[in-house]
């Protein structure tokens, strides 16, 4: 934790509080936190939790933008608290709220079981195109083949893209950007042959066509995954699959 004793600078951190057992609805609570220029918003929240108000709840762990725990709305934008710095709020105050579009479980903690259920639905694992035993060694995959899906495999499941997606907010059945990035990650992997199985989700009424190409999901992604691209590439694929089914008589819409 940054040494905050000697800087004399203070930041007003306004936190959206919600304790389901005592509050009817969320409300803003302000805290004055001493800070230094290298302190993150997360460190500011930790300071509050440790020294000002132990009842404030939030998720965090790695502090280095890889575990994906600390996504929150910071001055209205979905950000990772660990890599958003207090120095970037020169007005001396910052507002922190739970990630948009998710139910608030408590304070800055959102309920995310919907995301896990969706992840489970897309078969997020290699469905081998061709079988291979361990004794046969690794599948060959050139750097170019790796490059096709690597960016989508970088999703840390931080859910910022969901908080950036109004279509998910308006219709929580929508599979959403992050899950589509992961779905595409496997479809685009040269070792995988499971794309048709995953089409059941991508081409469904909860699938890609709920996206209206707002594009903000890709803007807020802290890992340059570009989920909007994953969604929209799959619109083309899903449409192709749809018309192919019509032509080949395999049913089209079920």
């Amino acid at each position: 934790m940054a040494d905050t004793s000697d800087t004399g600078k203070r930041m007003r951190i306004e936190v959206l509080r919600y304790r389901p057992e005592q509050d009817a609805e969320p409300f803003l609570q302000g805290y004055d936190v001493p800070y230094s220029d290298d302190m993150s918003v997360l460190q500011g929240l930790q300071y509050i939790k440790d020294w000002l108000d132990g009842t404030l709840s939030f998720r965090w762990s790695c502090r280095m933008a890889i575990c994906g725990s600390c996504g929150m709305m910071i001055d209205g934008e979905p950000r990772l608290a660990c890599k958003t710095f207090l120095r970037d709020f020169p007005a001396g105050s910052v507002r922190v709220e739970a990630l948009a579009h998710f139910p608030i479980e408590r304070d800055l903690v959102i309920r995310m079981d919907d995301f896990l259920a969706k992840l489970e639905s897309i078969k997020p694992y290699i469905i081998p195109k061709e079988a291979r035993s361990l004794a046969q060694g690794e599948y060959l995959q050139t750097p170019a083949e790796l490059d096709v899906y690597e960016q989508f495999s970088s999703c840390i499941n931080c859910l910022l893209c969901y908080a950036a997606c109004p279509q998910y907010g308006l219709n929580p059945d929508f599979v959403g950007p992050g899950i589509m990035a992961l779905l595409h990650r496997y479809n685009a992997d040269s070792r995988d042959g499971g794309a048709s199985a995953r089409m059941e989700v991508a081409g469904s009424e909860a699938g890609v066509f709920n996206c209206t190409a707002v594009g903000y999901c890709s803007e807020v992604c802290p890992k340059h995954v570009d989920p909007a691209n994953a969604v929209n590439q799959n619109k083309t694929r899903a449409a192709g699959d749809y018309f192919l089914r019509l032509v080949t008589g395999k049913g089209g819409a079920k």
Binding site: A117, E120, S121, P166, L170, D173, E200, V201, G203, S204, E205, A206, G207, F209, T212, K235, A238, A239, Y242, F243, G252, A253, K254
Partner: protein, 122 residues
Amino acid sequence: MKPIPRRSNAPVFWGLFGAGGMLAALFGPVLVFMTGIAVPLGFILPSDAMSWAHMQAFAQHWAGKGLLFVVVALFMWHAMHRILHSLHDLGVHAGAALKIACYGLALLVSIVAAWVLLALGF
């Protein structure tokens, strides 16, 4: 886990939306400029560019008919698809009724355009 919802019919409408959007992006500005500004003002293009004779000939040619139909119909499908989604964005989730209204209007415009173009003869 929730059962996977059924297959979406959206590709049909999305395809029309995309085609119309691309057409509007590539040719929309120049068409508006021609029909709405250049010809009425006689600016760049001759002011009789859209004379009765010219347009009659254009609309009676199969290629001209095709172009006119595609522009009117696809612009409409593009627009109505977007408007439908924007209404949803604004909180108007009317479901099937709204869908029928929006896509129905696009279909109506398409039919009228086709009918008129056919009526204009070859």
